[in-house]
Structure formats: C-alpha cells, structure tokens
Symmetry: C2
Subunit: 113 residues, 2 copies
C-alpha cells in the first residue's frame, strides 16, 4: 500500500506533503513560492499557512524525498531555499497519485450514495 512516507494505511496523513511533491514535480521551487503557487493552482481553495509548509518541507527533506539548496538572490533580498524531488521523491509522488486516485474513488463510493 504505497504511502507518501510512513503514513497509516490511508492518505489522510501527509496529504499536503503529496501536494507539495506534486508542485516540485513540475519544477524547483522555494517555500514561500510554494505557498503562493498552491493557492494559485487551486484557485484559492488550498491555502496552507507558512507554519504548515515549512515544517512539511523539513519532513520531506529529512525523509529524503526532496533535496534543498540555498540560493542567494542578491541585493539585500532574503535568500531562498530551493527544493527539488529526489528519485525517492519521484517514486513517492507516483505512489501518492495512485493512492489519491484510489482514496478518491473509495471516498466517492461512500459519500456518493
């Protein structure tokens, strides 16, 4: 039952981690950008506060699913920590998508009727 990273049997834990992986699957991004991009891509329906995203990024990095590196933008602007998927992360993303599809189908079967 492929999970994002050591969650329970279902998807509910670490669900937001999967969304972050999905964004990073498109291109490298940094934390602050992820918050904004998540909001944009979901048309405002997913609005994770920084206090959720930064710890999530640390967990994902700790678990080896993403790798981060500092980038100096220069001229007094705060430096950014860019993240990209590792190969483990790519696998976790693929598995997570499968899990999400399965969970969605299952939940719809229960919720639908």
């Amino acid at each position: 039952m492929s999970d994002v990273h050591e969650t329970g049997p279902q998807l509910s834990r670490g669900e937001f981690g999967l969304l972050i992986l999905a964004l990073l699957g498109r291109r490298e991004m940094y934390g602050y950008e992820i918050v904004a991009e998540l909001r944009r891509a979901s048309e405002g329906d997913i609005d994770l506060p920084e206090g959720t995203v930064y710890p999530a990024l640390r967990r994902l990095e700790r678990d080896g699913l993403i790798g981060g590196h500092w980038v100096d933008v220069g001229s007094g602007a705060p430096r950014r920590r860019y993240y990209r998927l590792t190969s483990d992360g790519e696998r976790a993303l693929a598995d997570g998508r499968t899990d999400w599809l399965r969970f969605k189908t299952a939940a719809d079967a229960v919720l639908g009727g």
Copy 2:
C-alpha cells in the same frame, strides 16, 4: 468555509468523520457495522480499525452531530450502540460533501498538471 466540526481550513482533519456521517446518512448503524460497511462500500480500500472508529463516533456524538442509543439484541449477543444523524449532523454532512468536492477539485488541479 464549512467544516465537518472545528477542523482547520481544509478537509484533511476529520475526514474519516465525514465518511462515517455519510454512512449514517443512509441509515442507522452501530460501530462494528460501520467498520465492515466502510470496508464493503469502498471495496476494501478504506479499512479503519476499531481504535479509529469508536473514538471518532464518540467525538461526533460529543459534538452533537450524531446521537446514539443502546439496543439489546438478546440471547447473549453483545448489545449494540446504534447511531443516527442529528439535524446538525445532516448539515455537517451537506457541508462536508461540498468541502470534499472543492478539495477534490483543488487537489486534482495541483496533482493533475
């Protein structure tokens, strides 16, 4: 942002509570039956252990979304606690369905492309 019952802005917390509400929206059920029915209705993909379901039922009852009553089945069989939706529960279920739809759409937008 109608939530199931005091969760955060999103759906991830108390998600399973919503599934339980959905089952109880069909008919009265008792805990042990809910575990089995959830598994059946989702074709095995949602398999909540009793240690998840019973506390969830207590929370839902505490929050006034469901009401429970004991039923004696007789002849030495263990008695059952049947639950049904309250009117608050019906509302929470309707809201929860809306939230689920929105979250699903938003997550697909992020995951899909």
